[in-house]
Structures are given as C-alpha cells and as structure tokens.
C-alpha cells in the first residue's frame, strides 16, 4: 500500500497531474476573451513545479511505490531543466499561437502531460515506469504535432511520428519482455531496474538477455533520434508547429537521456562492455548522417533536425563511456543542447508571424540590417551549436570528448572532432545569411514586439554566453548527481 511518504516523494508529479486537470476544466469554463490568462497560469504552474522539485530534493536517492519511482540527483536535475525549458517554450509560443489562433487549453494541458511523462521517465525505477512515462510523453507529443489539424504537413508529420513511434515502443516492449524473461531463468522474474542490474550474473539465458538489451537500445535510439533510427526527426521537426518542435528538441531530449541512463546504467550496467560499442556505433552514424545531410538543407527547421541528430551523436559519446564521468558529461550535454535548441527555435518563433513561418534559411537574409539584436542572439545560438568557444556548446563538446578519451576510445573522440569541423559549415552558413546577405525584396522580417518573448529569449541566448564563461557550478551539480 502506498503510504504518505510515497506520495510526498512523488509530490511534484502528482501536483502537475492535478494542475493539468484543473487547467482543462478552466479552459472549458473560461470566457473566450479570458483565454489568454491560461498562458500565464500554465507558466506559473510549471514554475511552482520547479520550486516543488527543488525544495523536495532528497539528500540521497529515495524510492517510492516499492522501487517503481526513484528520486535522486539525476532525476532532480533533469526535471528542473525539463520544466524550465517547457516554461520557456510557453513564453516563446504565445505570439505564434495567437497569430494562428491556436491558443487553446489543449496545447497547455498536453504539454504539461508530456512533461509529466518526462518526469516519470527520468525517475523510473522499473521497466513499467519507463514504459509508462515514455508512452505518456509520446502520446501527448503525437497529439501536439497534430495540433493544427487543418494543415496538411502537421497531420502527415503526426501520422509519421505516431507510426514510427509505435513501432519503436513495440521494440522496446519486446526487449523488456525478453529481459524480464531472462531474469526469471535462474531466479525470480523482476521488472525492477536495480534488481535487473544483477541478472547477467545468474541468468541461464544470457543470449536472451542480450537480445532484450539490443531491442531496448533500438527504443532508446529512436527516442534520442540517433541514426539509424532518426528517420522521423526531420519530418516531424519540419511538420510540427514550431513551439512543439522546440519542445521535442529540448525537453524531450532530456527525457531521452534520462531513459537511456535508467535502462542502460541502472538496469543493464553489468553488460556495459556489450552496449558500449553499440552506442559508439550509433554515435558515429549519428554524427555522420546528421552533419553531412544537414549541409544540403534549405529549411531551417530541417537543418536543426539534422543538427539534433548529430548532437545526439555527441551525447552518445558521453554515454558510451559507461562511467559516472561519462554520464555526467552526457547529462551536461543534454542540458546544454536543450538550452541551445530552445534559443535557436526561439529566434524562429520571434520572427514568425501569420502567413510567414520564417522556416527557410533564406528567410533570415539580412536579419542584421533589420534587427541587429535578434541577429546577435541567433549568432550566439549558432556558434554555441557549432561548438565554438567561449560559448556553452563548446564546453559540452569538450566534456564528452574527454570522457571518450578517458574510456580509451580515442578514435571515437577523433571521429567526433572531424564531424565537428564538417558541422561547422552549416552553422556558419546560417550566420552568413543573417549577417552577410542583404535583405530580400519586400522582406517582412522584423522581430516581434512581444516583450516577454524578447526578454526571455535574450536571457536564454545570453545564458549560452554566460554559461560558456562560467560553467563550473553546473558541471559540479551534474557530477554530484553521479556521486563525483
């Protein structure tokens, strides 16, 4: 029976569930002209959730509901940043949604449910919780992608996302069932990740366990968007409404890291010598496909989609080290990537208006002439994504490269930097369009007057610079979560 303590441990999640349901009710009973208030209420809901996560932070790892739910340093950090980036997405989304008449309760409630999914996923203590969190996140995301249901492209993207996502979930579930089966051969069957950790030492079916592991890695690869499981990323990024894309590119990636960490380290840590190389292969493929294909993109959202794939390659570099240092580096990378991609999409959202998505790279022509500040923010985001010092993205890359070298995978680090050079080109190309090209004839390019968006976007992009100059505390925080 769950006791009060269990409920207290899960308080932020339970609070969000209640809040999301209340929002839905509020939406139903609110007058149409009061609807804009939903926006501010939702942001407040998320901020309170961040507060709850921080104040309830346990001194050491605690579990609830018989080990199904884990609350430790890793989950705290990931939750804080997932909530934070989602709140930022809300701020960025407002003018976009107003322009397209999409300001509805559904957007906010679905987003909050997706965040609850993320929170469950990163706190998962058993295979069931992993699956529960993943499905909550995925189903909300599918619906969010199709939010603008009259448009063709989003509907296509949503169907594609759903079909491929369902396939990947199936793979994951299949893998889990094999792992569960293997745990029962020579011992008591278990779904608990902490107990699964030791399965490889006693199971009489090691091959079955290994197969299960491989299927689970397929599921993880899909969620991360690592090649060769990346096919959905470009279409979904391009097709989804930009705020939803922003969410998928930020909070969702934090969740994917959390899921990978829970399944691989907590669950399959004993088999790390097996999955290390698998992840290394995924990393190399992601780096290659992401960076090379991005070069030829003309659509900015698609370009950022391929850039995500390559960034997941770097994240995998850290994960494949299979050491606390490596995980800390990978988590640092995931946080860094979430902040960078939110900033990059934020600029797109700041420039988009009704009838003008600002999603072609050529749409940004001459941005520096029209609005130098937005151009500068874009410059920060792009140089950070490219990994040029002194910006944040550079240090995250340094950390994962170092962890790869530390794990005796010097070759992987060299592959990483070679693709960083290739990747540099397309980020520079965006900066070139922004700074060096003249504005096109009749260009409607201008930044939105929306003050909250401008302020938060400025803070977001400047944080990339500030964290680039002083990233020590964040790194220490990440490392402390892994007991370093």
């Amino acid at each position: 029976m769950p006791n009060l303590n269990d409920i207290l441990i899960m308080l932020p999640e339970l609070y969000l569930v209640v809040a999301a349901c209340l929002l839905l009710l509020l939406d139903a009973f609110m007058a149409l002209k009061e609807r804009p208030w939903l926006h501010w209420i939702s942001i407040a809901v998320l901020l309170v959730a961040i507060y709850l996560v921080i104040v309830g932070q346990p001194a050491q790892s605690v579990t609830a509901f018989g080990g199904m739910f884990v609350r430790d340093g890793v989950s705290e950090i990931l939750k804080v940043f997932a909530l934070l980036t989602t709140a930022i997405v809300f701020v960025y989304a407002r003018p976009y949604l107003i322009d397209r008449k999409l300001v509805t309760g559904e957007f906010y409630t679905l987003m909050i449910f997706a965040v609850i999914g993320i929170m469950l996923l990163v706190s998962a203590g058993s295979l069931i919780t992993v699956y529960l969190g993943l499905e909550l996140l995925s189903l909300s995301s599918y619906a969010l992608v199709a939010l603008n249901r009259d448009a063709k492209l989003p509907s296509e993207a949503a169907i594609k996302y759903f079909v491929l996502g369902a396939l990947a979930s199936g793979m994951l579930l299949y893998g889990m069932s094999m792992v569960y089966g293997a745990s029962g051969m020579g011992g008591t069957p278990t779904l608990d990740l902490a107990q699964l950790h030791h399965v490889s030492s006693y199971t009489t079916a090691p091959k079955l366990l290994l197969f299960g592991l491989i299927f689970m890695i397929v599921g993880i690869g899909f969620k991360l968007g690592a090649a060769p499981f990346h096919m959905w990323i470009p279409d979904v990024y391009q097709g989804a409404p930009t705020p939803v894309t922003t969410f998928i590119a930020s909070g969702s990636k934090l969740a994917a890291f959390g899921m990978a960490y829970r399944l691989l380290d907590a669950g399959m840590g004993d088999l790390s010598h097996q999955w290390q190389l698998m992840l290394a292969v995924l990393a190399v493929l992601s780096l290659a496909i992401g960076n090379l294909v991005a070069i030829v993109q003309t659509n900015l959202k698609r370009l950022l989609a391929y850039s995500t794939i390559s960034h997941m390659g770097y994240l995998l570099l850290g994960l494949s080290a299979a050491s606390p240092e490596g995980y800390a580096a990978a988590m640092f990378y995931a946080i860094c990537y979430a902040l960078m991609s939110v900033a990059a999409f934020g600029v797109i959202l700041a420039l988009a208006r009704s009838g003008f998505e600002c999603e072609e790279i050529s749409d940004l022509k001459g941005l520096n002439q029209k609005s130098p500040w937005m151009a500068f923010l874009m410059l920060l985001a792009m140089f950070s994504l490219a990994g040029v010092p002194p910006l944040f993205g550079f240090w995250a890359k340094v950390l994962v490269l170092e962890s790869a070298i530390h794990a005796n995978m010097l070759w992987l680090a060299i592959v990483g930097v070679v693709f960083a050079i290739i990747g540099l080109y397309y980020y520079l190309h965006v900066i070139k369009v922004v700074y060096f090209d003249k504005p096109a004839e009749g260009s409607v390019l201008a930044a939105k007057p929306d003050i909250s968006l401008r302020v938060v976007l400025s803070l977001n992009a400047l944080a990339l610079l500030a964290l680039g100059l002083y990233w020590g505390p964040l790194l220490s925080w990440c490392r402390s979560a892994f007991g370093l």
Binding site: P390, A413, L428
Partner: protein, 502 residues
C-alpha cells in the same frame, strides 16, 4: 590595478565594445570616438607592462591565478614573459592604428566594426598571456568569431568564400590540438602549461602530439602547404582586418609553437625539425616567387607575409637543430632571438603595407597593380611612406625587417650553410617583388586618369603611417631594448630545447 594588470588589458577592450555597440548606428561618430578612447586607454595600460615587468628576472611574471572550473582543475591563469609583453604591446599599438585607419572608411555599421575590433584585441591579448592550456585554447578559437564577422560584413566581393574558408581552415587545425590537450590532461590531471611542460612523454606520444600541435599552429602561421586561406582572407578582408590579421593573428601561430611544441614535445620537435625547416625554406623561396607574379597588391603582400613568417618558423626550428650540439647554444639563442624580432617586425611592416594599400584602395577602389602607375606625382608624401615600408619589407638595413632576418640567417649558417643559402634568397626575391610593385604603382607616368584625381593623404592617414614608420625605424636602428626585453625569456626557451622528456 597592478595586481590585475593582465585581466584589465583583456577585459577593458572587450567591455569597451559594449558601449560602442550601444552607441548604435544613429550616432556613428560617438561610436568611433568611444572605440578610439578605449583603444588608447588599453595602450596606455599596456605601457605599464614595461614598468612592471622585470626583463632580467625572467620567468613568468605578473601572474594571476584563479580556480575557474573546480571539478576539472581549470584555472583562469595569466602571466607574461618578455615575448608576451612585446606581442601585447604590438597588439595594443596596432589596434589604435586600425581603429584610426577605419575612421571614415567604414560607413556601414561602424559601431559593429569597431566593437568587433575591440573584442578581437582583447581576445588576442588574452591568448598572449594565458598560462592554462584550456583557457589558451578557448581564446585561440574565440578569435575566429570577430574575424569571421569582420571579413564577412565589410569585406570585398568574394568575402563569404574567404571568411568561410578562413574559419573552417583554422578550426580544422585546432580541433586536433584540442584532442592532444585532452590527452595531456588525462596524463597530467591539469591544464597548467608549466606542469604539462614537465610531463614525461614517450617518443610515440610526443610524435602524435607534435603533429596535432603542428597542424593547428602551422595553419595559423600559416606555413606551406596550408597557407592557401591567407591570400583569400587578406584580399577580401577590409583594411583593418588585413592589418590585424597580418600583424597580430599570424603571430598567434608562432607563439603557439613557443608555448606548446617547444616545451611539451621537445624530442619530437628535434626529431622533426628538418620537416619544419624544409617547409620554412619552401615558404621563403617558393612563396617569394609566387608573390612575384601577383597582380593584386594585397595578394602580393599576403604572400610576402607567408615568406616572412617562414623566417620565424625557420629561426625557431633551427634552434632545435643547433641544440643537438650543446656547444652551439649561443647560436641557437641567436636564431630564436631573430625569430622573435622578426615576429614583431613583421607585425609593423606588414601592418603598414596593408594600411598603405588601404589608403590607395579607398581612393581608387581597386587593388590591381596595373590600374596604378605614377601615384607619386599626385601623392608625394604617401609615396615617401610607401617606399619606406617597401624597403623595410625587403629587409633593408636600418629598418626592422633587416634585424630579424639577419639574425636568423646567421644562426642557420652555423647549422648548415645550405639552409642559410636558401634563406638568404629572400633578400633577392623579397627585393624583387616589393620593389617591382613599387615601380609599377608609384613611378612612371600617370596612365590611368583616375590616378590623377587621387588626393594626398589626410591628417588621420598621415598619423597612422607616421606611427608605423616610427616603430619600424626605431626597431631597425636600435633593436636593443626589444632584444633585452625578450632576452631572458628566449634563453629560457632555448634551455627547454635541451631537456629530454623520454
């Protein structure tokens, strides 16, 4: 103030860029004056280095050391030796002239131009005084951002190609250096450059690390065969960009040789010294011939920069060769000293040459040699400076160009007369391409009617050229203070060559 002199030097121009940017496009003159004030202030502060730095004491001085990233042991560590002091002074000096030189030339968003220049200045100063390898690397790479913007916005017609090539080329080299640094961090547990210098490494490790460093710095210098970005970048860059590029940024490469290759991989450096010497000689002789056939003035000076930088790398690596025989330590020191003097001298001479070309370009909007002819008839004062800097460029005694080249040739002669023979070729080829250009541009009759309309240099341009000329002449006639400033540091570097780390 003196406790944080180096930090002040780095951050003053960087912070100064913010008000310049805020001054905005509406009040361009305010932005210009502000940036000039910041640059002059920085120069004045950098003069305190001369007061504070004790040349005879040697070692790294004026150090500042703060823990930056605790969990990684990265420090915000700064310190200078004589070589750094000289380079920093050159940077602050040239920055003033660059900002003065761009005064009314840059009409499009001058505040952004000036701000980029100031940020660049601060970062360059940072490179010259960082003593933590990761800090050095971050600054070394960060330089690319303002330069990328400078060439890309205010450059010539092919500026996008040139600036992308410049950025990707240099980035390509340095990422391997990053891997090498991370490897060293694994072994040493720190990025402190002095500790890395004392770290024992096997020959195999040294060889790999040597080549990783070599590719990073050789591209920056640039050495043959990775010099091809330089002519493009120079031709397309605005005058100020070219001046900073030639005068200061190329020195970052050779400075990296001194700070990384010499102390960290002395054995590999000694083993592969022949490679760098051969490449330097190719730069001196072959690139000299390439310069001869150029029709674009900026390209010609860019190639001549490659040839002159060949002297710097030759001087550094001839010291490696000489140190194989402990008896010739004095000669090794001479070669190294020559390389240092050549570094500083080339900064002033090439900066001045590019400024001169900028002056002509502002009037004619062409850099083709064939479009000129008889410029001396309309611009006699300008002609005077141009001839003077051309003479310095060919290494005429009495100008700074002579001192360094002579010292390097002397040192190479004692290592191997053949090397000296090839190096001395520069005296002929350098004179040939420079003077031939002067002949075609300045002398003769005016054939292009537009040349007849050229106006004599104004007060601002005269100030820039006089300042450059004073520096070139001072170093040429009386190089002793400069040599004295760097002497102890150079001796220390040469001693490091003799230490075996295997």
């Amino acid at each position: 103030m003196f406790n944080h002199l180096l930090s002040l030097l780095i951050w003053l121009p960087v912070a100064g860029a913010i008000p310049v940017l805020l001054a905005g496009s509406r009040r361009p003159n305010l932005a210009r004056w502000l940036s000039l004030i910041v640059a002059v202030l920085t120069f004045v502060v950098s003069l305190f280095l001369l007061v504070q730095y004790q040349p005879d004491a040697g070692g790294m001085q004026l150090s500042e050391n703060y823990l930056w990233i605790a969990s990684w042991g990265v420090h915000y560590a700064l310190a200078v030796d004589g070589i750094s002091v000289a380079l920093i002074l050159m940077t602050t000096f040239v920055s003033i002239l660059v900002i003065a030189g761009a005064w009314e030339v840059i009409q499009d968003k001058p505040h952004q131009y000036m701000a980029a220049m100031l940020v660049l200045e601060g970062l360059l100063i940072g490179v010259f005084c960082a003593t933590d390898a990761l800090l050095f690397y971050a600054l070394f790479e960060a330089i690319l951002i303002p330069m990328f913007i400078l060439i890309g916005i205010w450059g010539g017609p092919r500026r996008v190609y040139a600036t992308l090539k410049f950025f990707i080329y240099t980035f390509f080299g340095s990422v391997f250096m990053l891997i090498a640094l991370l490897y060293l961090y694994q072994k040493a547990g720190t990025f402190d450059m002095a500790t890395l210098a004392a770290l024992p490494l096997t020959m195999k490790e040294q060889t790999w690390i040597f080549f990783a460093f070599l590719i990073a710095f050789a591209i920056k210098v640039p050495m043959v065969p990775v010099h091809t970005w330089l002519p493009d970048a120079h031709v397309e860059a605005p005058t100020g960009g070219s001046v900073v590029l030639a005068a200061v940024m190329l020195k970052v490469g050779t400075y990296g040789f001194l700070r990384f290759i010499l102390p960290i991989t002395p054995d590999a450096g000694s083993h592969y010294a022949w490679l760098v010497i051969v490449l330097s000689l190719i730069a001196i002789v072959y690139i000299g011939y390439v310069a001869l056939v150029q029709e674009d003035m900026k390209k010609l000076v860019a190639y001549s920069s490659v040839a002159h930088m060949g002297f710097v790398t030759l001087g550094i690596f001839i010291a490696f060769l000489l140190m194989r025989d402990p008896a010739s330590v004095d000669m090794a020191r001479l070669g190294m000293q020559g390389a240092m003097v050549q570094m500083i001298s080339h900064g002033f001479v090439s900066g001045a040459m590019f400024s001169c070309i900028g002056v002509m370009y502002d009037r004619m909007h062409t850099r083709q040699i064939k479009d000129y002819g008889g410029v001396i008839n309309v611009m006699p004062w300008f002609g005077f400076f141009y001839v003077f800097f051309a003479m310095a460029n060919c290494g005429l005694p009495g100008t700074s160009g002579f001192v360094g080249e002579f010292m390097v040739i002397l040192a190479s002669f004692s290592a191997n007369p053949w090397i000296a023979l090839f190096a001395a070729f520069t005296l002929i080829i350098g004179a040939a391409y420079t003077l031939w250009m002067v002949k075609r541009v300045l002398w003769g009759d005016i054939t292009n009617p537009h040349v007849g309309e050229m106006k004599e240099i104004n007060g601002r341009e005269t100030f820039v050229l006089v300042a450059f000329a004073a520096a070139v002449l001072a170093l040429g006639v009386w190089p002793q203070p400069l040599i004295h400033l760097m002497d102890t540091s150079v001796s220390h570097l040469v001693q490091q060559l003799a230490i075996h780390k295997i």
